[in-house]
Amino acid sequence: MSGGACQGLPASLPKTHGQPLWLLAELTYKCPLQCPYCSNPKDFAGFNDNELSTDEWVRVFEEGRKLGAVQLGFSGGEPLVRQDLDILIREARQMGYYTNLITSGVGLNERKVESFRDAGLDHIQVSFQASDETVNNMLAGSAKAFQQKLKMAREVKAQGYPMVLNFVTHRHNIDQIDRIIELCIELEADYVELATCQYYGWAFENRQQLMPTRAQLERAERITNEYRVKLAAQGHPIKLIFVTPDYYEERPKACMNGWGQVFLTVTPDGQALPCHSARMLPIEFPNVRNMSLQKIWDESPGFNHFRGDDWMQEPCRSCDEKDKDFGGCHCQAYMLTGDATNADPVCSKSEHHDLILEARAEAELPATEPLLFRNERNSRVFYKG
């Protein structure tokens, strides 16, 4: 590719990059739940009428497989809303993907668990909002969610799938971490993701209402470690994965293991993104409807934007840790500072690190606003299309 510099692009395209081992198919933004920490875009309501067809998805999967993709996540929104899900699973499985269904469990039933297994689904991840029914249902915005999730988690195991249980933790549920772990053991989860809320999408709007204090977080991590030791001593195969929130770190996370290096998301309306939050950035990303995945991955300006380090400013440019964290998360830099090429403010070397310190201080105070729930009505407020 030549002449890139004329379009304001780095001149050294194409840059070295890996294979998109992970393909995340966000099949729909529709969801029966209203979790206030949802990572979907706040303006998702504007994209609801333009979902990719079955054939379009199958083509995307084929192109991804040729590029080396091997893990395929069916996500959303709630992927069960798609009536063609069993077809998509069957097609993907035949191509050799390891197929992951990432679901709230709402909309699932015994028959579907079985027909997905027949189609070749490899794994089901069920998300919970809390270990307590009342808190769970309050956060999900649904009175029946918790019992349904319990029932479906049991069904998933009964039908022989590997199962991951995912809990997004925050100030409303993190103090029940011991009960969350106990519930996961009881439900025979193979892996448990205790994912401290990351502040993107709806979660960013609700940050003050969600962010735990440092003391809450340290306690949760200590209890998780105690369980790990205890379970290992029993020879228990369950794995507890504790995802620490970067707001309490001094160095940023190596976001997505590097921009456009291993991960590729396709949104319900066909936008290809290097990470599921990237839609918010002021970067033009290609659409699978008018470009092949190979061209998107190898050549598109969007995917090359933050490859390499030509784009970096100080303090990243001269930093001896830049190959470790690649400057951190560009979405976070953009949300907090208005410039995605700034260092992620999580880094204590960032001149904007005080924004993170302020958020930590805020977390010590009672929330002043009610939670903003993720639903169509609230989303239209953000949609300016």
Partner: protein
Amino acid sequence: MDINAIPALESMFRFQWEEAQQAHVLLYPEGMVKLNGPAGEILSFVDGQRTVAGIIALLNAKYPDAGGVDEDVMAFMLDAQEQRWICQVLS
């Protein structure tokens, strides 16, 4: 696990050849282990029916110049069991 044990892949894993990696891999929820040549070769004989001895015999026949793979296969089996990639079929 001893020489007469029958190893089988744990239900958590799927084993396959990945063209893009030019390697055998173990796939599990949201993850992948890329196997080296010998590990991939040994695992391709693990089917829940052959004994460790049977697998060793097959590999020795296939690689007569290797000077006997017995110890390497046994070491791999123990390691794979430790990592919970394989388990032992109860006979």
